[in-house]
């Protein structure tokens, strides 16, 4: 089977897995907080397994923690789903949960001497706080009806794949990121169902997994901090729709503004990363 067909099949299977859980959740509203997050969790697990093979537990290779994050962060996704009723449990649970999730992947970099202890702790705390902020700010987008939220997150996955491919020089992280976008993108056709939303849990978990992939690329591949910051700001962009000033605008404008930012800034980021990549060597390497 060709590489392209194989990748398409992986994306299709992962998105389908997510779609099944979301459809179930759409019918069983009382279980939706859990099923919404479970869709992303299972979709990403299927995706990871097909791209990277079976991960170990506990992982010898720290980059495998991305897979376990999809499963271990499931309670956080569920907590995001019930957040309106238990606001402080969610906020503190997310903070402690994210801090706990970020320690194991980066400890080996301190052990191998790539990061000093101080640098490592600073990175872990800083990245965990940034992730917590992203997850808590964007999770309410999951309650928005229509295709805007899944579409914008799917687009973010595409931009992220481009930056990871040419910037981090990791095809697997790029594929995982792009296909995570495709998993959330499954919410676009489902958005035409009456009353369908992908749910807070799905958005929270998807954002956490994007951060997990980007921080893995920062620590273990060649993603720069600047590139990570750009991706992070792009991930925050859909949350602009929740600002009171934006709420007063028409739905079309509320969708078009973040879309334009992601397209322009994201497109520029991919373009600049591609140029830097091509300038590195005269002979093109196409993987």
């Amino acid at each position: 089977m060709s590489v392209i067909l194989e990748s398409a099949l992986t994306a299709g299977l992962a998105a389908l897995a997510a779609g099944v859980f979301w459809l179930l959740g759409w019918r069983l509203r009382r279980a939706y907080a859990l099923l919404s997050a479970l869709g992303v969790s299972v979709g990403f697990a299927v995706l990871y397994w097909r791209v990277q093979g079976r991960p170990d537990f506990p992982p010898i290779d720290a980059t495998q923690w991305v897979f376990w994050h999809a499963l271990f962060a499931l309670p956080l996704g569920w907590l995001a789903g019930i957040a309106p009723a238990y606001r402080w449990v969610w906020v503190w649970g997310a903070l402690l949960g994210v801090l706990w999730l970020f320690v194991p992947p980066f400890r080996p970099l301190m052990e191998s001497g790539f990061w000093s202890l101080t640098t490592g702790v600073a990175y872990i705390v800083g990245l965990a706080l940034a992730t917590w902020l992203l997850v808590t700010l964007t999770a309410p987008l999951g309650e928005e009806r229509g295709l805007a939220t899944p579409f914008l997150i799917a687009l973010l996955g595409g931009v992220s794949a481009g930056v990871l491919f040419y910037g981090a020089k990791s095809a697997s992280l790029a594929q995982l990121s792009g296909t995570l976008g495709a998993v959330v993108g499954m919410g676009v056709p489902l958005a035409f169902l009456r009353g369908f939303t992908i749910g807070r849990g799905a958005v929270a978990l998807a954002m956490l997994l994007f951060m997990s992939l980007w921080t893995t690329a920062l620590g273990f591949a060649q993603l720069t901090l600047g590139q990570l910051v750009v991706l992070y700001l792009l991930a925050l962009t859909p949350a602009l729709r929740l600002l009171p000033a934006m709420q007063r605008l028409s739905p079309a404008v509320r969708f078009a503004l973040p879309l334009a930012i992601v397209l322009v800034v994201g497109g520029a980021a991919v373009g600049m990363t591609y140029s830097a990549y091509m300038a590195q060597s005269g002979d093109t390497y196409s993987y």
């Binding site: 060709s2 273990f220 390497y285």
Partner: protein, 196 residues
């Protein structure tokens, strides 16, 4: 006086015997791997079509050779995974990434022999632990003696060569197995050691 002379003669004979005995008891000889005249090259099939070749430029290690009792021989090797070189900088960066060697977490590839068995006068079978990307697997390779001599500095040198095949999936290097890059990687290690 005559008694003293006789004793001195005995001592001299014993000393001569001990002295002449020692070279017969060949001690294992340690050789330091000469990285300039040693090569670690590998090949892997790309897109089920052609073979891509690469090498590691930086490595070190020792070989202990016991000619009388080859079972006492051994080899230890440490390879700098970051020194991978396939003739294309972008591909080398990709190979260093988590897709393949994840060199930030696993900067070294090591091999330590666990058993050496003589096959014939010029060949031994070496079994040992290869550690790559944090995974240790036992591998077996037939090593051929390629020669012995002296270098320009007058140091004794010795040469060996081996070719063996590993499955990269056994070391958790799984990226691109579905049609991109083959699982089997053929490794050739041609080594020259300098006597220590």
């Amino acid at each position: 006086m005559r008694k003293q002379t006789r004793w001195m003669a005995y001592i001299s004979i014993v000393a001569m015997l001990v002295g002449s005995w020692q070279p017969v008891q060949a001690q294992p000889v340690t050789y330091r791997i000469d990285p300039v005249h040693s090569f670690i090259i590998f090949r892997v099939k790309h897109l089920n079509t052609g073979f891509a070749y690469g090498r590691f430029n930086s490595f070190s290690g020792t070989i202990v050779v016991d000619e009388k009792n080859p079972a006492n021989s051994s080899i230890e090797l440490e390879i700098d995974a970051n020194s991978i070189d396939t003739g294309n900088g972008q591909r080398d960066d990709h190979l260093r990434s988590p897709d393949f060697f994840n060199t930030r977490q696993f900067p070294k590839i090591t091999f330590k022999s666990t058993r050496v068995r003589k096959i014939n006068d010029t060949t031994v079978e070496v079994q040992g632990d290869l550690t790559m990307r944090g995974v240790t697997r036992s591998i077996t390779a037939r090593v051929t003696y390629t020669g012995k001599g002296r270098n320009q500095r007058g140091q004794e040198i010795i040469g060996f060569e081996t070719t063996f095949t590993i499955r990269r999936s056994q070391f958790n290097i799984n990226y691109g197995l579905n049609g991109g890059l083959a699982d089997e990687v053929r490794v050739t290690f041609a080594v020259e050691g300098i006597r220590q």
